[in-house]
């Protein structure tokens, strides 16, 4: 059946218009506003060129928030990836009772809102009555100030993020692992392959396309979820020690009345996440193994 071009155009137009209004226009606005000194509410805007970006380079608190974001990105992505792959492999290939129950239990953290997760982990990290310090106490270890120690706080947030994300990625990996033909594993068994070599020689190459896709998800979700958890759990504290990209952007845009500067941070986050995703995509490119 021949469909006319004008008909196609009008069909696509509403969605395209929405995309322009809610995606393209705001993105361009962020870039434009980053060139202004503006408080955000009044009509007083001053064009300052690249001044906001020059200030960013010397802003130690921004550098600290950048460092924290990168720490979370690396730690959360690597550990979640390993844990999710391991759990998915075990639940797919090992003979375990109540597999479905485990799958649901692992997935539950993903459907909880960030505020609930923050409340759960605030209770776990409570210095006097929390689960974490109670367990350490049983082992005779002094209480740890999980959210009060500048050196530890960012890792405490990383633990919450890993707990939240593992189930989601596990389910994604399980779906592609279950598509791998069982005959390959049987052949490997006959050859006397160990579980580890079966995972690295059969499972991983065959689900590699899926793993690559999730790497981009890791980058985007780490930046977003870390903001939500930091806002609810620490507010960026103590003394800015757990500040991440977006929480610092919020602080500058609103609390410090520097909306233009906040948008400059937004531009850096945009470029950084875009570039990193592209880099990861190129670095993980392999010949697709298909059967």
């Amino acid at each position: 059946m021949r469909i006319s071009k004008s008909f196609l155009f009008w069909c696509v137009a509403p969605a395209f218009l929405l995309f322009l209004v809610f995606m393209i226009y705001p993105t361009i606005s962020v870039f434009v506003m980053s060139l202004y000194k503006w408080g955000g509410y009044s009509a007083a805007k001053t064009f300052v060129g690249l001044n906001n970006f020059r200030t960013l380079i010397e802003d130690t608190r921004f550098i600290g928030s950048f460092r924290n974001s990168v720490i979370l990105l690396v730690i959360v992505s690597v550990i979640t990836l390993i844990l999710a792959l391991w759990c998915a492999n075990v639940l797919t290939h090992e003979k375990i009772k109540a597999k479905s129950l485990f799958r649901v239990i692992f997935y539950i953290p993903n459907i909880l809102s960030a505020v609930v997760i923050a409340a759960i982990f605030s209770a776990i990290y409570d210095p006097s009555r929390g689960l974490a310090n109670s367990v350490l106490g049983l082992m005779g270890i002094e209480p740890v100030m999980w959210l009060g120690n500048r050196g530890i706080v960012i890792y405490s947030i990383a633990i919450a993020m890993i707990w939240q994300a593992t189930g989601y990625y596990m389910v994604m990996y399980m779906s592609s692992m279950s598509a791998v033909p069982y005959s390959l594993y049987e052949a490997a068994d006959i050859e006397g392959a160990s579980g580890t070599s079966k995972f690295f020689s059969i499972t991983l190459p065959l689900i590699w396309t899926n793993v690559r896709t999730t790497l981009t998800f890791f980058i985007i979700s780490s930046i977003n979820i870390s903001f939500l958890l930091v806002r609810a759990m620490t507010g960026g504290g103590p003394d800015g020690a757990s500040e991440v990209f977006l929480s610092y952007m919020y602080e500058q845009s609103y609390t410090n009345s520097s909306y233009g500067y906040g948008m400059a941070i937004g531009v850096v986050v945009f470029v950084f996440s875009f570039a990193l995703s592209a880099l990861v995509n190129i670095a993980t490119r392999r010949d697709i193994v298909e059967l």
Binding site: S4, S6, F7, W10, C11, A13, P14, L17, L18, V21, K37, G39, G40, Y41, S42, A43, A44, N52, T55, L56, E58, D59, R61, F62, A118, S122, Y125, D126, P127, S128, M145, W146, L147, G148, N149, R150, V153, R231, A232, M233, T234, G235, G236, G237, P238, D239, G240, S242, Q252, Y254, T255, N256, S257, S258, G260, Y261
Partner: protein
Amino acid sequence: MKKIISIILCLALCVTVLASCRSRNADSGNTGTLKVAVLESAYGSEMWEKVCDEFEKVSGEVNVQLTADKNIEDVIGSQMKSGDYPDVVHLATGREAALTETMIKEGALTDLSDVLDMKVPGEEKKVSEKIIPGFTETLATNPYQNKKTYLAPMFYSPCGLFYNANLLREMGWELPTTWDEMWALGDKALSEGIYLFTYPTAGYFDAFIYSLLASSGGVGFYNDVMNYREGVWDTSEAKAVLDIVARLRDYTEPTTVANSTGDNYLKNQQLVLDGKAIFMPNGTWVVGEMADAPRTEGFEWGFTALPAIEDDRYSFTFFEQCWIPQEAKNKEAAREFVAFLYSDKAAEIFAQYGAVQPIMDMTDKLSGENKLFYSVYENGAKAVMGGFAATEAVEGVSIYNTLFESVNSIITGDKTVEQWRNEIISVSDKLRNNLK
């Protein structure tokens, strides 16, 4: 035919999309409507509804459109960005979204000096004759130091140290009036396993440090600090203040910093109710905030000004502010409304909900714990008001973060007093060059 119908349907979709983007600013030209936006704080919004009703009765023609919300910045912020401004806003400085600070920094507020000379609607007295002297001469009301009032002072609350009066009585401990006595009490309390000090969040150190500055060098010195005077942080008076905060490290309950971030600050306030810490800096709202919290038997709220560094003791007076945006459409009615807020009728309604305005003789009408809190100035403490002078927004630079949030690092020992002082000097230098 089918094709035409499809095209019409698609066009209708496009029009719907565009129509949804239409401005909601349809009725802004109505001069008979007064748009009032208020923060729904611990006092609730009912009192505002009643006051607006009373104003409508007095003014006759004006129809008040009240918007009250716990996050009022989120409600009016986006409307203001699109040019739809409320006529009157009741929102204090010190909020995280800092809408009021932004309006001050951008010079986007209406001068309210003439409101002070207006007669209170329905009464004979002028507004200025009703407000307690001093309240309209602070940096919190006159941010540009040009003797013009841009923010009307509203509900006020003395800030100082809150404690369990019953605990001190039972232990036979005297209430300290100097910092030497404070440290002595701290040592005694530690031997009993009780910590001298805790604080809800580092942000609560604003009123604490303001009072200490005034106690250390007097109101003149305090004003110098608030105006970022060069070299002010090199003085012995400023050093004494920073040293006191640093010494608190030895007397602060160890879990305080861990609970001072995010929403865990109530756990720190609970330490006082549980008898694990004696003092915490706070405002009168803490009583309502902790009303349902468990407490030790016989617990009784006590409130005192900060101990003296030199001769005088000070208690910082926090107050909320009311203002009119420069872009307000109905400024005349807005001025009338602000003047009406100081009427006997409005003050009575506010007081019923525990919101006390800086109106003369209001404290005589208080009872119970409020009477104790507001009588702090009658018991020898001096009042200190206002905050830092308004500056242009300086990107990446915040005196609040540097001066107050750093306290967490001082208490944990991650920062030395010298590092702290150097950071404050550096930030003050940057802000001094951008004073409005």
